[in-house]
């Protein structure tokens, strides 16, 4: 990536311009876009140095690397956009391993014709999210595909972090008797997205819960270092996450419907569409599994944090060779909370 040299260069037209194939061609146009948009917005020494990769120092200890591609549609939704979502998502993946995130990388696949005004909005949002999280985006890449071969923009982010000593969090560490906690209300993000889907539109004040959770995780680990599992219930919702953890840990789970935090509006929207909040995506929540005797302390630490005021103890890990996740319904009966079948689609029957 080289600095644009020479005399006057007309600035990139972010108001009315569109992405075109030259922006991915490796030539002057691409360099100019990178400098006037990415370097300017992300604004740090690594990007200003103009190297292809970033040279960083990392503290000693176990490292965590996580990567995520973001293909959300629509790109802009109540409470966020693909930009901040891509930053939060990878920060969260790093945090779910108990690690402190240190650096991010971001690569973009842009579709020819995508409005530069939207691109700038997205990049600015990413920059803000990275600043708020105090984790810089130190390197990146840009490619352009022909019109029709992309969905406006795809973003892939990669993050690295370091795991503090004494922390051992993994998906197979849940044990019978452990407590299961969630950090807040379920289904907000998925419903916020659905409300914008063509032909399903309804009005509501529901906004996406997209947020970076590493600060919350740090506070939780400070209170309870012995946390066994952490995971953020994104696609497929809480149900999918619990089933994954149950299978990987070789145990079962029993949760209580009455203890699940769900906003009234989200519950209503799910009723409308025939969706189950348990399967709806979250982007700013986490599931924690910890020894039962630590659950009170953990819950207190979570509720003290602004991102987890609605944290709740929702169930217990149990012995079960079939790895079922079961739920005590508010009604008094029991039911399986099974793996998601395909993609959750609204229904009329």
């Amino acid at each position: 990536m080289s600095k644009v040299r020479g005399g006057y260069v007309r600035p990139v037209d972010f108001k009315h311009g569109h992405v075109d194939m030259s922006h991915g061609g490796g030539g002057r146009a691409m360099a100019q876009l990178i400098e006037e948009l990415f370097v300017r917005e992300f604004d740090n020494a690594w990007l200003r140095a103009g190297n292809d990769g970033a040279s960083v120092t990392v503290p000693p200890g176990r490292m965590v690397i996580a990567t995520d591609s973001h293909v959300v549609s629509p790109l802009f939704f109540p409470g966020g956009d693909i930009g901040c979502l891509s930053v939060h998502g990878t920060l969260n993946d790093v945090a779910m391993a108990g690690a402190r995130p240190l650096y991010l990388a971001a690569s973009f696949v842009l579709e020819e014709g995508f409005p530069l005004a939207d691109l700038r909005r997205i990049v600015a949002s990413m920059a803000q999210a990275a600043r708020d999280a105090a984790v810089p985006i130190v390197t990146g890449d840009t490619k352009v595909v022909e019109r029709g071969k992309g969905d406006g923009v795809f973003i892939t982010t990669t993050g690295v972090g370091v795991v503090p000593d004494g922390i051992d969090i993994a998906s197979d560490r849940a044990r019978p008797g452990d407590a299961i906690l969630v950090s807040g209300t379920l289904g907000d993000h998925g419903v916020a997205i659905m409300s914008l889907r063509e032909n399903l539109s309804f009005e509501s004040t529901i906004t996406s819960d997209t947020a970076a959770l590493h600060g919350l995780v740090a506070a939780m680990l400070a209170a309870v270092p012995r946390i066994h599992c952490l995971r953020d219930p994104t696609r497929g919702g809480l149900a999918t996450t619990l089933n994954e953890l149950a299978t990987q840990s070789g145990c079962g789970m029993v949760i209580r419907e009455r203890d699940l935090p769900v906003k009234a509006e989200v519950a209503a929207a799910c009723e409308f569409l025939g969706l189950d909040p348990l399967y709806v995506a979250n982007e700013g929540k986490l599931v924690a599994i910890a020894p039962m005797e630590e659950s009170e302390a953990l819950l207190a630490a979570m509720r003290a944090h602004p991102l987890a005021r609605d944290a709740a103890l929702i169930g217990t890990v149990v012995e079960d060779p079939h790895h079922f996740v079961q739920m005590q319904t508010t009604f008094g009966g029991r039911r399986n909370v099974d793996w998601l079948t395909g993609e959750q689609l609204p229904r009329i029957c």
């Binding site: 309804f202 009005e203 509501s204 004040t205 529901i206 009234a264 509006e265 519950a267 209503a268 929207a269 009723e271 409308f272 025939g274 229904r347 009329i348 029957c349």
Partner: protein, 81 residues
């Protein structure tokens, strides 16, 4: 059968349409299949249409019936057809 929900009518933007609300979620639905619906009424909504007006008195009566289930062990059924 089919997924249908009781929802409160909050406005009638045209004679044939109603804005309904359930706990803050709002949608515009058709009133082509019902008559005499006014704001404040509850209607049963299915695939974007109101199918019936919900009778609030009967709803209360039904809830009372549930509550009396224990007590009516010796009494005969009183539910009208």
């Amino acid at each position: 059968m089919c997924l249908a929900l009781p929802a409160r009518v909050i406005a009638l933007p045209t004679p044939d349409a109603a804005v309904i609300d359930i706990d803050g979620v709002r949608k515009t639905v058709s009133l082509e299949l019902v008559e005499g619906v006014a704001p404040g009424d509850y209607v049963i909504v299915h695939v974007g249409y109101a199918l019936a007006r919900l009778d609030a008195d009967e709803a209360q009566r039904t809830l009372a019936l549930f509550a009396s289930a224990d007590a009516s062990a010796l009494a005969g059924p009183e539910q009208p057809s």
